[in-house]
């Protein structure tokens, strides 16, 4: 009888200690997970800021307009010759993108070219109606909104940055008509893809703010 009561007390004490340990270790684990998550988010956002620095370079953002026209040049002026977006982002009959832009750069004439030359859809506009680039938070939100980005998830965005011909063109933009080379984004394509991968692996976090 006495032995059985002692055993019961022992079990109760053990259960209590185990429960306390579970609670404490759980709390510690949650705190550790939260710290890890915060660190991951911070790293993800740092990677995103690198991605953003590329997306808002003239080679990229000139065709991610909010208006009915593309832009050109490092000063991002309105495209000359009254070129307009058209229903599919490829100009209009008689004045298509392909009226001048071929499958490759034409360095002898200074006309840039690449496969399927076209404007990004308006859902992927990265600037406002005054041609001012949107904030890092706004571009990130748009890029990760699957109702706006052709339903691309994180790996899909990474694949787009890694393989899309017009993305590649930004690093091989050819010569201007005056024979000088067009500028390229601030990261190499490899660095851009690596930054996108880090951002995707962190869960495509976006900065807070408007």
């Amino acid at each position: 009888m006495l032995r059985s009561r002692a055993a019961g007390l022992l079990i109760s004490a053990f259960s209590c200690a185990f429960g306390t340990w579970m609670i404490v270790s759980g709390a510690l684990g949650q705190a550790r997970d939260a710290r890890r998550s915060a660190a991951s988010r911070a790293q993800g956002i740092a990677a995103w800021e690198q991605v953003y620095s590329v997306l808002t370079h003239a080679r990229c953002i000139n065709c991610h307009t909010a208006t009915v026209y593309p832009q050109q040049g490092d000063d991002r002026q309105r495209h000359f010759a009254n070129v307009v977006r058209g229903p599919e982002g490829k100009g209009v009959p008689g004045l298509n993108c392909a009226s001048c832009h071929q499958e490759t750069n034409a360095d002898s004439t200074g006309v840039p070219g690449g496969h399927n030359w076209h404007l990004a859809p308006l859902s992927m506009k990265w600037q406002d109606l005054n041609d001012k680039p949107l904030s890092t938070a706004a571009v990130c939100r748009a890029l990760t909104d699957r109702s706006k980005n052709h339903n691309l998830d994180g790996p899909g965005l990474l694949k787009h940055h890694e393989e899309e011909a017009l993305v590649h063109w930004a690093w091989q933009p050819g010569q201007r008509p005056d024979g000088t080379m067009r500028t390229v984004p601030p990261l190499t394509h490899e660095e851009f893809v690596a930054a996108t991968r880090r951002w995707v692996e962190a869960g495509t976090p976006c900065p807070r703010g408007r």
């Binding site: 009254n82 009959p93 034409a106």
Partner: protein
């Protein structure tokens, strides 16, 4: 120099030129087809417009090396096309031409428009023809002729 086999107005034409030569100059200098005009030389005026694989194309900025096997149609042959014929007839009917220098490009662009948009609105015409400049300002008659051609098609 390199030799290219071009398909111009349904005929094979061999030319030996520098690869960077714009198609415009191949047409005018090598093939002696002077209906296509040199205007600005930088794609800004539309005088040099021809059709490449059915797309209205500024031939002054297209190196011949990038033409490939795509068929080229110029103002010399556009009248063989029913839409092209309708546009040229409408141009005559409305007496569009003043000095005439830009008109081959205007017609090639108008044909491209009507092939895709048989009943164009004023907005369609403004957008599609907006890159074709006419120093004589025949724009009102161009619009009337396009609408007239649309009724003939």
């Amino acid at each position: 120099m390199a030799t290219y086999q071009l398909n111009v107005n349904g005929e094979r034409r061999d030319v030996t030129v520098d690869p960077s030569t714009p198609l415009l100059w191949v047409l005018r200098e090598d093939l002696k087809m002077t209906g296509t005009k040199y205007g600005c030389g930088v794609s800004a005026c539309g005088a040099c417009t021809v059709h490449v694989a059915g797309v209205a194309t500024r031939s002054c900025m297209l190196p011949v090396s990038l033409v490939g096997e795509r068929p080229v149609v110029t103002i010399e042959a556009i009248g063989r096309d029913p839409v092209g014929r309708a546009v040229q007839d409408a141009w005559v009917e409305k007496d569009v031409v003043q000095c005439g220098y830009c008109q081959s490009g205007q017609i090639m662009c108008a044909v491209a428009l009507l092939k895709h948009t048989p009943k164009p609105t004023d907005a369609n015409i403004e957008e599609s023809m907006g890159g074709n400049i006419c120093r004589c300002a025949t724009y009102v008659r161009i619009r009337e002729a396009i609408k007239s051609a649309a009724q003939r098609i």
